[in-house]
């Protein structure tokens, strides 16, 4: 089951750019870009940090989808 996320959506809602979000969670801008594109699945630690910045639960930011 592929992992999807709403990082881009929540980041826009918080008015943060990729660099700023990266700095807040200790990741590079490239990593945030990879996560948003679905090309990289973050570790639990990073997922928790991202969710904390958005003031959401991890499940609200990252979720599994059924394969077609």
């Amino acid at each position: 089951m592929p992992l999807e996320n709403r990082v881009k959506e929540f980041r826009a809602a918080k008015n943060l750019n990729q660099q700023e979000l990266g700095s807040l969670v200790g990741a590079s801008r490239q990593t945030i870009s990879l996560i948003e594109r679905g090309d990289y699945n973050p570790s639990i630690t990073l997922a928790l940090k991202i969710a904390k910045v958005f003031e959401k639960s991890v499940e609200q930011v990252f979720y599994l989808t059924e394969e077609e």
């Binding site: 660099q19 590079s28 490239q30 870009s33 996560i35």
Partner: protein
């Protein structure tokens, strides 16, 4: 499943054995022709080492252009948008790849030149030495400038190319995704070389039947193979069973 895999393995072994037999027969029956081909090929490569070194200048020019373009984009835009960021990052990645490839190329070409100068003393070696030095300096400049530009779009990155601890500092400033990319790329490199070394040995053994190859060549290639295996196995063992847990 296991039976199928075993049959596939046995079939591959038989095909390889048949191909090896045919190759040996071909080599033995054309021994004089092949020896002549190897000798003329060696002479051509050695005598044209200067041209080969000059060819190496072309990618260095491309690398310099890429850095210049990336630098202009960074300079013109204080805050890069996503498209500009991806474009600049790709340019810098390509620019950084060029010196990594061109360094072994320059060493190979200068090695050819050194072989030639051993046979015939001439100004040839001096021209090649000059070209080699120029290429090495150029490569270092490209690496330095690429890293400096990369630091502008990745402010968290640390390290100076001219410092001995550069690789360690650069790696420590990489985050989990970048470390995963490095790990996967290193494993692919390991897998590729694990295939290349046995093939190289087979080729060298076949060449040996028609052309003199120094035992040192076998020793050197074998040592490289051993170093590669040990440099993979020792850290793997330490990471898996070592006292320090991986965090």
């Amino acid at each position: 499943m296991k039976k199928k895999t075993g049959l596939k393995f046995a079939f591959t072994m038989i095909v390889c054995g048949v191909l090896g037999g045919i190759s040996s027969l071909f080599v033995r029956s054309n021994i004089k022709d092949l020896s002549t081909i190897f000798n003329s090929l060696s002479d051509t490569i050695i005598k044209n080492s200067t041209i080969l070194m000059l060819i190496g200048v072309i990618p260095l020019i491309i690398g310099s252009i890429l850095i210049k373009k990336a630098k202009n984009i960074i300079k013109a835009n204080a805050d890069l948008d996503e498209h500009q960021f991806e474009k600049t990052n790709k340019m810098l990645c390509m620019a950084l790849s060029i010196p990594s490839v061109m360094m072994p190329w320059s060493f190979i070409c200068f090695g050819f030149s050194a072989t030639y100068s051993f046979r015939v003393l001439s100004v040839h070696i001096l021209v090649d030495l000059l070209l080699f030095i120029i290429e090495m300096v150029w490569i270092t400049i490209i690496q330095y400038k690429t890293v400096e530009e990369t630091k502008k779009i990745f402010p968290e990155k640390k390290g100076n190319v001219l410092d001995n601890k550069f690789q360690k500092e650069w790696y420590s400033s990489c985050d989990e995704a970048e470390r995963q990319i490095i790990g996967e790329a290193c494993y692919k490199s390991y897998k590729t070389m694990s295939v290349i070394y046995p093939i190289l040995f087979v080729i060298m053994i076949i060449i040996c039947t028609v052309h003199y190859l120094s035992p040192f060549i076998f020793l050197m290639v074998g040592m490289l193979w051993l170093v590669q295996m040990l440099s993979y196995l020792i850290p793997s063992y330490k990471l898996e069973h070592g006292k320090k847990s991986r965090r």
